[in-house]
Every structure is written in structure tokens, then in C-alpha cells.
């Protein structure tokens, strides 16, 4: 099994990789989910993908991750992005493992020695505020804590490309805001490339450098809009006029996509 150790990086340059998607097509049964889809994601960019249910957001993410094969077209990721990290809708933890061993799992699967990977997991857990919970099992945690463990597991390999599929959708607003803050802090420190699929316009505007809205059928990009709000964005940014006008613009496109 090939494993390249996490390379040293400087926060200024970032560790992100660029992703080029060209002529991508995928259908399931008779339904064309993505048709001739083109997209370029810059290195160290935070991209949010919005769109109605079934518009191909998750399919796009799976194709980028290599979990699914396209009918046509290709996803090119410059330089070695591996390991990619993927955060699922559900925390998707192994229920029979403690938090510590869940977080260490990616390193275990890539052949990192036990002592080293448990040390790394413990260190990372402390930074997400779960140091105390290391010995507990997922069933003993709240939904928000489980999602933090899931995030920590994704981060332990220091991924250069982080894919998130509506990760915080099931959480209450307060927990969600905490995790959004945490994710932003992390992104600013490491500058990995992030693709964040969400249903929430406000979350997209709060987090992303750029937001896409996909159409209900065929995955056409209805709008591709840079979000120019300065970072770090605090919770209070959500009450500003600029924030509201970004949200309104995206909401309008989404509504058109629905009626179209």
C-alpha cells in the first residue's frame, strides 16, 4: 500500500490542489444527472455547491472522490492529492471503536504504526475540543460531537482536498455555527481545497470563496458567484447588508432553477 507521509507546509502557500473537471457526464437509469459538466476549482479555494435535491451535487462530489466512475469526461487533480478526505452526511463512525480509534482509522488503513497514529489522533482530538471524549464510544456522544469526530477523522491525514457532503445538515443551528466557525479556522490555517455541498444558502455565503448553484436537471451551472466577504468571517457578518445581498442573489437563482 502506498503512503506518502503528510508533507510539511506553510500556511501562506497552503496545501490545496487544483481540480479540473471537463465534459463530465453521469446518468443513473434514464436520468441524466450530470451532462457535459465543466468546472475548475483553484488550489486552496473554498467552493460551496448549492442546488435542489437530486441536482447531482452528491454525484459530483463522489466523482471527484473517485467513489463513482463517470460515463464520459474526466476529473483531473493536479499533483498528488492523496489522501483525499470525504465527510459524509452522517458522521459514519465505526460504533464498535472508541473516538480515538475512529479518528486514527485513516492512518491505520494507510499503514502508519500504531503508536504514531494514536498520538496524532489524540493531538487532533484536543484541538477539536474532544480530548476528554477520546475513550468514549460514538453511542455515548451527542450528534454535534459525533460530527466533530467525523471531521477530525477526515483531517488526520492532512488532506489537500476536503470534500463535504451536507455534513452539518442534521445539526441544530448553534452546533452548526460552531462547526462552521471551526471549519473556517481550519481552512484559513491550512488552505486546503474544499468542496462543500449544502442546502443552506447562508452557510454557503458564510464559508465559501465561491458558490455554485446547479439546476435541477442535468447539473447545469446556473450561477458561479464569488463571495468577496473578507475573512475571518465572524458570526456577526450574517447581519450585514453585504451578506444579505449575497444570500438574496443566490436565493433568486435557486428559485429560478426550481421554477425552470
Amino acid at each position: 500500500m502506498s503512503h506518502s507521509p503528510p508533507r510539511p507546509h506553510t500556511p501562506e502557500s497552503g496545501i490545496g490542489v487544483a481540480v479540473s473537471i471537463s465534459k463530465l457526464s453521469r446518468h443513473f437509469g434514464g436520468r441524466q444527472v450530470l451532462a457535459d459538466f465543466h468546472l475548475r476549482i483553484d488550489a486552496g479555494e473554498f467552493l460551496a455547491v448549492l442546488g435542489p435535491s437530486g441536482c447531482g451535487k452528491s454525484t459530483l462530489l463522489r466523482l471527484i472522490a473517485g467513489l463513482d466512475r463517470p460515463d464520459a469526461g474526466r476529473v483531473a487533480i493536479d499533483s498528488n492529492p492523496w489522501p483525499i478526505a470525504y465527510v459524509f452526511q452522517d458522521p459514519s463512525l465505526l460504533p464498535w471503536r472508541t473516538v480515538l480509534h475512529n479518528v486514527a482509522l485513516p492512518l491505520e488503513l494507510t499503514g502508519v504504526p500504531k503508536e504514531q497514529r494514536l498520538h496524532a489522533a489524540a493531538k487532533l482530538l484536543a484541538t477539536v475540543g474532544l480530548g476528554e471524549a477520546a475513550g468514549r464510544f460514538p453511542a455515548q456522544l451527542s450528534g454535534g460531537m459525533r460530527m466533530r469526530v467525523s471531521l477530525a477523522r477526515a483531517l488526520i491525514t492532512e488532506p489537500r482536498l476536503l470534500l463535504l457532503d451536507e455534513p452539518f445538515a442534521a445539526l441544530d443551528a448553534l452546533t452548526r455555527q460552531h462547526l462552521d466557525d471551526y471549519l473556517q479556522g481550519l481552512f484559513m490555517a491550512r488552505r486546503m481545497t474544499v468542496v462543500f455541498v449544502t442546502h443552506s444558502i447562508a452557510e454557503a455565503v458564510f464559508l465559501a470563496d465561491r458558490a455554485l448553484v446547479l439546476s435541477a436537471a442535468g447539473g447545469t451551472i446556473l450561477t458561479d458567484r464569488p463571495i468577496a466577504l473578507p475573512r475571518p468571517r465572524r458570526e456577526a457578518v450574517q447581519t450585514t447588508v453585504e451578506f444579505a445581498s449575497e444570500c438574496a442573489a443566490l436565493a433568486q437563482v435557486l428559485a429560478q432553477g426550481h421554477s425552470a
Partner: protein
């Protein structure tokens, strides 16, 4: 578990047992039913006390064959399930023959078991194995095939091999299913051993529960028959309780069936 809830778990079945036992006792007394037709509960209990030594030796002997059969079922049933889970083609080719174990009437083939394994514990263990292996295969297989797809994706992202995925993901997530199979199999193994004894027991050291039942029937000691049947039921219950204990110990931290109180 709190003291109150433990009490509330034990009291109702105990009360119902006493009520039904007393009702049966009175009904049989009132109708003056002869003991050889249907012994009263009190007569069965005294037969149990009178033959305590003999019946507990017989129970132990049956327990040995049944537990050997169950262990073989767990080991082979689990292994067969893993092999069947490898590929749809393997399943298509071999699963119908696994169903054979479910449908074969053990009573009918017990004489064949004697021909193959000779009289004694080997044939009896084989009978216990045959009736108890299928629930383990079927349940473990369904567990192995129903691994959370998101977790499978997770392992794919980190390029885990088939063996690592089996050992670290699919086997552990099939444990609850395996234990469900084992729970069903535990009762069946006792039944299989008793049927096996009807045909294959050597009467060595007095024989097992099946032999005790057979002998008591020939001697028309109906009360002793019931006492032996009671012991057989208790043996099945004991097996069931052991599997439940194993289930609790292995899943107490993580599975809803054991973490919810």
C-alpha cells in the same frame, strides 16, 4: 439497570408461572386426571426431585453434545457466511445448498448420521450441528451484506484492501446479526441433540435427556417424562441466556440493542 426495573422484569413472569401452575394443578385435581395421562405440576416437581441426580447427569451429557454442535455451527456457519459474502456468483452457486440444512428433516436423516459417525456423541453432535447451522449462515450473511454503504465508501477512499475491509469493517458490523443467528441456533442445538439421542445414544453413563425421555416413556413414567422435558427446556434457556450474556459483553458500548436500557 436499577433495582426497581430488575424487580419489574422478574415479578410478572413469576406471578404468571405461579397462577398458571396453580390453575393447572387445580384443574387436573378437579377432573381427577390420571398421572399417566397428564401429571400434575406438583407430581412433576417431585419426580424431578426424586430423579435429580440422574436427570442432571443426563442434562449435562446433552449439554455437551448440544454445545459442541453449537460451537461447530458458529465456526462453520460464520466461515461459510464469509465465503458466500465474497461474490454474488459464489452465493448463487452455493446458497441453495446452505438452505438444505434448513429444510432437511433431522429426524429422517438421524439414522444416516449413525451410519456415518457411529453411535454416540459424534452423531448426536452432528444432529445438533445440522439443525443449528442455517440460522447462523443466513443471519451472518445478511449482516455481511448490509454494511453501511457510507462506511464502505470511507474504506474505499483510504484504499483499504479486501482483507482489511473484511476484518475491520464487515466482520465487526455483522456481529449483531451473527449473535441473532446464534440466539436462534442455541435453542435448535438442544432440540437437535435430543433428536440425535433418540436414535444414536449409546446409553453410556445413563445417556442424555433424549434417552431419559425415551426410557421414561417406555416405562410409562409420564411424570418423569415431563420432568426430563422441563430439564431440556431449562437447558435451552441456559444456552439462550449464555448467548445473551455474550451479546451484552461484546456490544454493550456500541449497539442500540445493548446500550439502550
Amino acid at each position: 439497570m436499577t433495582h426497581g426495573s430488575r424487580l419489574s422484569a422478574i415479578v410478572p413472569p413469576l406471578v404468571s408461572l405461579l397462577v398458571i401452575g396453580a390453575g393447572l394443578e387445580l384443574a387436573l385435581l378437579a377432573t381427577a386426571t390420571p398421572t399417566y395421562l397428564m401429571p400434575r405440576p406438583s407430581v412433576v416437581l417431585s419426580a424431578l426431585a426424586d430423579n435429580a441426580g440422574e436427570l442432571s447427569r443426563a442434562t449435562l451429557q446433552t449439554a455437551l453434545a448440544a454445545s459442541l454442535g453449537l460451537v461447530f455451527s458458529a465456526v462453520f456457519g460464520g466461515t461459510i457466511a464469509v465465503v458466500l459474502s465474497m461474490h454474488p456468483w459464489v452465493r448463487r452457486a452455493f446458497y441453495p445448498y446452505a438452505v438444505f440444512f434448513q429444510t432437511v428433516p433431522v429426524v429422517a436423516i438421524a439414522p444416516m448420521l449413525v451410519i456415518w459417525f457411529g453411535y454416540g456423541i459424534r452423531a448426536i453432535t452432528a444432529a445438533a450441528f445440522i439443525v443449528s447451522v442455517f440460522p447462523i449462515i443466513a443471519n451472518t450473511l445478511s449482516g455481511l451484506l448490509s454494511t453501511d454503504p457510507a462506511l464502505c465508501d470511507l474504506f474505499r477512499i483510504y484504499r483499504a484492501g479486501r482483507l482489511a475491509t473484511l476484518l475491520k469493517l464487515r466482520l465487526p458490523s455483522s456481529i449483531p446479526h451473527f449473535l441473532t443467528g446464534l440466539r436462534i441456533a442455541s435453542g435448535l442445538a438442544v432440540i437437535g441433540a435430543i433428536v440425535g439421542e433418540f436414535v444414536a445414544d449409546t446409553y453410556q453413563a445413563g445417556g442424555g435427556i433424549g434417552t431419559a425421555i425415551e426410557v421414561a416413556i417406555k416405562e410409562q413414567k409420564t411424570d418423569k417424562v415431563f420432568a426430563a422435558v422441563l430439564m431440556a427446556s431449562l437447558l435451552g434457556l441456559g444456552f439462550f441466556a449464555l448467548v445473551n450474556l455474550a451479546s451484552f459483553l461484546s456490544m454493550r458500548h456500541w449497539h442500540v440493542s445493548e446500550t439502550k436500557e
